[in-house]
Amino acid sequence: MATLEVTDLSTSFRTDDGIVKAVSGVSFSLDAGQTLGVVGESGSGKSVTFLTVMGLVDPRSAQVGGSVLLDGEQMLGLDKDRMRQIRGARIGMIFQDPMTSLNPVKTIGWQLEEAVLIHQDVTRKEARRQAIEILKEVEIPRAEARVEQYPHQFSGGMRQRVMIAMALINNPEILIADEPTTALDVTTQAQILRLMNRLQEEHKMAIVMITHDLGVVAEVADDVIVMYGGKVVEQANVRDLFSGAEMPYTWGLLGSLPRLNSAGGRLEQIPGQPPSLLRPPSGCPFHPRCEYVMNACRTDLPELRVSQHGEEHFFRCHLDDETRNRVWTAKRAAMLSEDAA
């Protein structure tokens, strides 16, 4: 049984301007020790998907459908108290901006202890001991002294370590990381990713890595889902995705990766803007920006279908196999020759 099994998840928000369908028909599963990479532009629904899983969307404005099973137990529609017992204990979450994600007027120690005291029936002294222990585990030097300090006395990378420590202090089965390295500089990014990798092995937990950076995905993910306009547009294991991407949006993402050897010139980019979720385009959400657009794309949303490359590889596209093969082979060859140059 998968640790997390999400089926046909959908989330929409009521707003003054109408209903925003932020996520629709998202399905995936995640096993212990595995990492799922979730890729997409801003507004693709990748964060909302996991805020829904965590039960952190505002119930007054959000409409949620589908199913979320944690170890076989249905999480959608759980009452608030049961949901609170799961949040922070069985699923931990860290966020993009470590500079603003910690309470500025409480000490680091207090904030870590709070996470312990909410879920465990222990004394404050024991909570403090656990706080220091987990800070050592995320490689924060002088942990005994630093628990007394406030967030503004920590650097960005150190704060993200504290966030990770706080998410892991109750030993969760799943860690959801929402763009954990986006706000950090590149060397710190690498350190944080390595740290997460090590902690994953030690704690045997599953990780969801939400990112718009395919480089991060290539480094840490086992499986990848690509989201666009609130829908999953391609889903595969990481090797298949990089070697046999099946649809134009994924091609665009892969093409826009900066390459070390490219001979100057501009980065390739996907023209246009991400779709409005309030008034989504008809048919395939990507069709206004797609260079291979056909009539069918404007009217019908392509079904998620199985790839020719493997049973576990799904994608949405109206293009026939032959055309897709031809285009992708050419694109891939161009990228590889650039890398080799």
């Binding site: 609170r84 949040r87 922070g88 709070e114 006395q153």
Partner: protein
Amino acid sequence: MTQFLIRRIFWAIFLFFVATIITYLIFWVIPADPAKLAAGRGATMQDVARVRHFLHLDKPIWWQYWFFVKNLVWHQSLGRSFVNRQTVRYTIAQDAPVTASLVFGAAIFWLSVSIPIGVLSALRPRSVLDRLSMTFVLIGISAHPVWIGLILSYVFGYKLHLTPIAGYCNFFPGTPGAQCEGPVQWAYHMILPWITFMVLFTALYVRLIRANVMETMNEDYVRTARAKGASPQRVMIQHVLRNSLLPVVTILGMDLGLALGGAVFTESIFNLPGLGHEVINAYNADDLPMITGIVVFSTICVIVFNFIVDVTYGFLDPRIRPT
């Protein structure tokens, strides 16, 4: 912490000098001839000259200022009124408790009303309570205290006989010649002034607290707290309130300091013998030492309250506290 305090104290002293110099210049240099005012109507040229010498008005302005500061610092003296020859200090000592009763009493009321209403409105924006409180805020900000005071005094005092129409009673008994005294009479006479004075501030604070709480609820660290599994009560008390009430401390300190300088309108309507009332009388009588004295006193109040705010803030907000 000591260094922080010392820095703040020096800053307060500096502010005191800047403020008194400006006050002194405005009130003693600009009017035509203070000596003539002091000597009174019908004084001869010789009288005016004697008065000018007696008040040191024949000395250079910097010397006069120095004399004023020296008297204030060494003898805590602000001079004597031109009108009744009482010392200004004595008059302020008489009036300040009245204004303090009004301001602090009203502050307790406006805080205990505006914090819960502000928080509840923020929690349920667009609810019936929120709409009602926003309507009240609009009225409270628009309605002038004179109008509110007169209406209240007419309805509750004159028509319904529930409260006195005007007047003040000392909190502490024992004043000779007082018509009424004691805590009960004091509070009874203060009810309408408190309500009149608090309306504007309650409105401002409801709006301020509502906005701060709503803003804080969208902070990333509040989402972090919820992701930890914290209950809504815990999130509200430990994470939202603590952060959203910080700016309220600053503004409260400034408002209290300012208000102590004279709640002119409310004191005039209810005939409370406070500083605001006094300053109006002094202005009408061209009583310059009294005006200067009250302005200097209010300046000191503002400085002292700002100092208290700075120190409190240092304790409340670790980002300001030096390590």
